[in-house]
């Protein structure tokens, strides 16, 4: 049966997720009766996407789960552990995206249930590259962080800066540029590609790469409307699962590669790019271990997640597993990573049963 699907994200067309959608649409057109049209910003904003998928305004959409703490607390707990990839890998985006995908689809029935409760099914993840401090002055020691005001999006980054005596400031991403140029904040935390996307190189002078590290992993990058999913034949669902593996791979690898491309541009724009110092790196690693307890307590008491300790152990194990697997492939190649995702995760998902009750 020929189908025409709408894929929708709140990103501008030039960003990694719409590019990955376009590749998925291409693959679907060549390998199935399913066609897809990609909408960037024009159909649904980030805040509207889960409800838009639920009501069928779009067929599939890019959901940033941390925007919805009440709806997606199970996924968010795993995503909050992203600082675990700040060491031990050169491709943190690939490691964390795969770990989240495997966790949600194979290890966390509560995660699947929180998506079905919103009338959608999780088919793919994806992650940004490592987060770094982008500042208007050099920052690379524990002492530098004291009294530093930093704009950060995710709560875990806020805890990191507060742990070292700095102040976390909540400012929307669209106002980062002004906030930095007018010194409302000393630093902002973004990934390398976003330094270029938000034109921050104009106003920043110093960048400390991998401080604190970690990626944005609260990403359900291709949630499909549940009625549509359940109305598909098992063969169609199998095709959509493979499409999901391509979306996870596409998003993460495009982010990874755009980070590599952005670095020389950031340097050419006059920003002094330095690696995280030995001292700050060590202090950060200590913080990460202690922070897992905070995550456990917070998600238990504030979000009502059950068995948080056991779940945290599962995610830790998956992160370690994928650090090993990703180390053996070329992280700039979508194909190798996607093949790995198929064998390790997607081939183990049963198209007859996944999200069917």
């Amino acid at each position: 049966e020929e189908r025409m699907l709408k894929f929708s994200s709140g990103f501008p067309e030039s960003a990694a997720p719409p590019q990955a959608y376009a590749k998925v649409a291409e693959w679907l057109a060549a390998n199935s009766e399913i066609k897809a049209e990609v909408f960037s910003m024009s159909l649904l904003s980030f805040g509207e996407t889960p409800a838009g998928i639920r009501d069928g305004i779009t067929d599939a959409g890019y959901v940033l789960t941390p925007y919805f703490p009440a709806e997606f607390s199970e996924t968010n707990m795993a995503a909050d552990m992203a600082l675990l990839v700040s060491s031990g890998t050169d491709a943190p985006a690939l490691v964390m995206a795969a770990a989240i995908t495997e966790y949600v689809m194979l290890n966390c029935p509560e995660c699947v249930a929180e998506y079905t409760a919103q009338n959608q099914v999780f088919l793919a993840s994806g992650a940004s590259t490592e987060y770094s401090l982008v500042c208007t002055k050099p920052v690379n020691t524990v002492a530098d962080l004291k009294g530093l005001s930093v704009r950060s999006g995710a709560s875990v980054f806020g805890r990191w800066i507060e742990h070292f005596g700095g102040t976390k400031v909540s400012i929307p991403g669209s106002e980062m540029y002004e906030a930095l140029s007018q010194k409302v904040v000393d630093c902002t935390m973004v990934s390398m590609p976003d330094v270029m996307n938000f034109q921050l190189a104009d106003v920043a002078t110093d960048m400390t790469v991998n401080a604190p590290g970690g990626v944005f992993a609260g990403t359900a990058s291709m949630n499909l409307n549940l009625d549509l999913w359940r109305g598909m034949t098992p063969e169609e669902r199998k095709i959509m699962l493979e499409a999901g593996s391509r979306m996870t791979a596409g998003t993460s690898v495009i982010y990874h590669n755009s980070s590599i491309e952005a670095e020389p541009k950031v340097k050419a724009a006059g920003v002094n790019v330095v690696e995280l110092s030995e001292e700050l790196s060590k202090a950060t690693q200590d913080f990460i271990v202690a922070d897992l307890d905070t995550i456990r307590d917070q998600f238990t008491s504030l979000y009502g997640v059950e068995n948080a300790a056991a779940k945290i152990e599962t995610v830790k194990g998956l992160v370690e597993k994928w650090k090993g697997l990703v180390a053996d492939i070329d992280p700039t190649s979508m194909d190798a990573y996607q093949a790995l995702l198929m064998t390790e995760v997607y081939s183990k998902v049963d198209p007859e049963a996944y999200a069917m009750q």
């Binding site: 709408k6 501008p12 067309e13 909408f39 910003m41 024009s42 159909l43 649904l44 904003s45 805040g47 509207e48 409800a51 838009g52 639920r54 009501d55 069928g56 305004i57 400012i171 929307p172 669209s174 106002e175 540029y177 002004e178 906030a179 140029s181 007018q182 010194k183 409302v184 034109q199 104009d202 106003v203």
Partner: protein, 435 residues
Amino acid sequence: MSNVEIGYWGIAVLLALIALRVPIGPALIGVSFGGIWMITGPKAAWGAVGIIPWNFTATWQMSSIPMFLMMGFVCFHAGLTKGLFEAARLWLSRLPGGMAIAAVFGAAGFAAVTGSSIACAAAMGRIAVPEMMRQRYDAAFATGTVAAAGTIGALIPPSILLILYGIIAQVPVGSLFMGGVGAGLLTALGYCVMIVVRVKMNPGLAPPVNERSTAAERLSALLDTWPVLLLMTGVLGGLFFGIFTPTEAGAAGAALAVLVGLIKRSLSLRGFWSSVVETLQTTAALFIIAIGANMLTRFMAISGAGRDLASFVDAMNADPMLLLLGIAIIYLVLGMFLEPIGAMLLTLPILLPVLKTADIDLLWFGILLAKFLEIGMITPPIGLNVFVIKSVVGDLVTTGQIFYGILWFLVADLIVVALLIAFPDIILWLPTVMK
């Protein structure tokens, strides 16, 4: 019927509803609801009605709109802007059409403390028109001057139009604000030149003022401009020195206006509450239109009519000048009928990709766009500034007379637009220096 056809029919039905006097906001919402229903089905249509109004409104950046509106209304009710006009009047009375020039200067000053041209026109209309009529200025000339001068309100920062444009086009709002200064001042200059030329040609428009003022009077009038100067310095300085962000600037400005009004002892409780109520009414009326326009853009996206239209503009892409001419004509036509924020939300999703392909500077274009949209505020048949002036001055003039009085200012506007296109640095110089 194909989806694209449904899209075009939707536009036709919308225009018919608006012509039949259905309020613009509900007309936009109703048409979008029907269109999405026809293309995607009832569930998606009801979903859009449930999701979009909340998500559009419950946004931090949007909060600056009611705040800047409130700042303007407080300034008016506390009489903070009166001194500015008085000073301009005393200092400029010897010039041909000096009072009219004073009104333009007054509007440019008020523009620095208000975000919308409606607020600017309303305030200057209440202050300047009665004064000009007392000096036996021609009624059409006097009201036309103030209606046109009001448009400077959305060019010189702060500006609600520029904030919305910055959010949609991802251009830093601070840079847009700096860019608006050049265009706003050039517009004011253009209007002043036009006033002098016209009064020279036809002295009957503005009889010479025989009022003589002493140097002491003129100096003391200058001192009375402190409230507006303080507000301007406060808002622009606060932005420049990083005390607050553009979104926070609205609230900071409104609070500052209230404080100044209290210090001056000119803001009564009654005046304060009038400011609040007028802000609420304007906010509610504006947001329902913006929500409707926002829903219409989704309908256009789903139907594919948006892409279809964009490909039409795309066809002119070969020559950037031709493209700009096409865009100018589109906005002059839309501006005759549509309210500026709606016209902008409607067209930007279609135009932005085209502009990016044509490699047109989005900062420069944003200011040009604001200028186009503001021209629409004073063109017949629907010129919001004209209606505002009419409602302020009452039976002194007819709406037709005001439109007639504006004609020459439209000529000045076209010259200003040509200059902005020929010399982009008029807009871009200040943002570049500020970086």
